[in-house]
């Protein structure tokens, strides 16, 4: 039996080996359109720009608007336009890795195209995936998109400032998520108000540090 996505899988393996050798953590950010990936990157750059060497790959269907928003941090950013494609793949990542000086990088954040199903199927060679959902999308997302929530190393629930204006129920979301993935850490955050960001920054810093201190 042959895996249909073998070609993508093999390339992802190459990317992963390279990043391990260079001690770079690569995070694959997956969410629906508008859940807050770029805003999370803005907040994260503000906090960590001085501490770590950050790079960003922006997956965008046709524009470079998200990359423009991140320019102010003076970090290396490369845009991949998928030209209609609903996800990034390992070949496009592998190509743009040449534009980064991997010896001068601690962490590479990849903002995938906004979509909860397709990006979960395509290994990019990342160290881990991160699932972001926002409260305005409803509390039923984990059960509807089990693959992403199973595979994610952590889940971020964004826009908790908006809970009072929605029918989002924390208990429903939490128990749904527990059923899908009882082990995954959950961060409840508001990227605009700042709630919960401290815990997130602490967690991601730990991940970056543990990658850069591994023996190769």
């Amino acid at each position: 039996m042959k895996n249909i996505l073998d070609r993508n899988q093999n390339k992802a393996g190459e990317v992963r080996n390279l990043l391990v050798a260079k001690k770079v953590l690569m995070v694959n950010l997956i969410s629906s359109p508008g859940a807050g990936k770029t805003t999370l990157l803005e907040r994260t750059c503000e906090e960590l720009n001085k501490k770590f060497r950050i790079g960003i790959i922006e997956g965008d269907i046709t524009t470079d608007r998200d990359a423009q928003r991140l320019k102010k941090y003076n970090i290396p950013i490369v845009v991949i336009n998928t030209e209609g494609g609903c996800h990034l793949d390992s070949h496009s990542i592998s190509k743009v890795l040449d534009s980064f000086d991997l010896d001068d990088l601690d962490v590479l954040f990849v903002e995938n195209v906004g979509n909860l199903i397709c990006p979960s199927q395509f290994d990019l060679g990342e160290t881990f995936k991160l699932a972001i959902v926002s409260t305005t999308e409803g509390d039923d997302k984990p059960g509807k998109y089990p693959m992403l929530f199973r595979e994610a190393k952590a889940v971020l629930l964004n826009k908790i400032d908006l809970i009072p204006y929605t029918n989002f129920k924390r208990e429903t979301f939490n128990s749904d998520l527990k059923n899908i993935n009882g082990q995954v850490p959950l961060f409840e955050i508001s990227c605009t108000r700042g709630n919960g960001l401290k815990e997130w920054i602490k967690w991601i810093s730990k991940q970056i540090l543990s990658t850069s201190s591994t023996e190769v």
Binding site: I4, L5, M147, N181
Partner: protein, 113 residues
């Protein structure tokens, strides 16, 4: 719409294999998809037929087997299926599980003449 990309990769493998095996026509492609991959069979079959148009695989019949989720508990060794997306061991309630079925994206066989 990951169906499109997966259909493209499948058709590349099918045509490559047909060439290697010196087939003049591909008649059947048998594949299996795990439930968790969330492929919509109709969309997939449509996307595949588009990508093999005007090739020796254009009349191939695509048989899709959908594989349900099966897990094994890392704590007590129990293996079990998933109902209503509950990834919790039915025996010991542990959530430390390994998915052994449900993520398939496999080509089982390619038939031709």
């Amino acid at each position: 719409m990951h169906e499109i990309r997966i259909a493209e990769d499948l058709s590349a493998i099918v045509l490559e294999t047909a060439k290697r095996e010196k087939l003049s026509k591909v008649t059947k492609v048998n594949i299996s998809f795990g439930v968790l991959v969330q492929i919509v069979p109709d969309i997939f079959i449509f996307a595949f037929s588009e990508t093999v148009r005007n090739t020796i695989a254009q009349d191939a019949e695509v048989n899709i087997e959908i594989v349900s989720v099966k897990m094994i508990c890392k704590k007590c060794g129990n293996d079990f299926g998933v109902e209503e997306n509950r990834f919790v061991c039915a025996n010991c309630r542990s959530t430390d599980l390994e998915i052994i079925h449900g993520k398939e994206l496999f080509i089982k066989s390619i038939e031709g003449e």
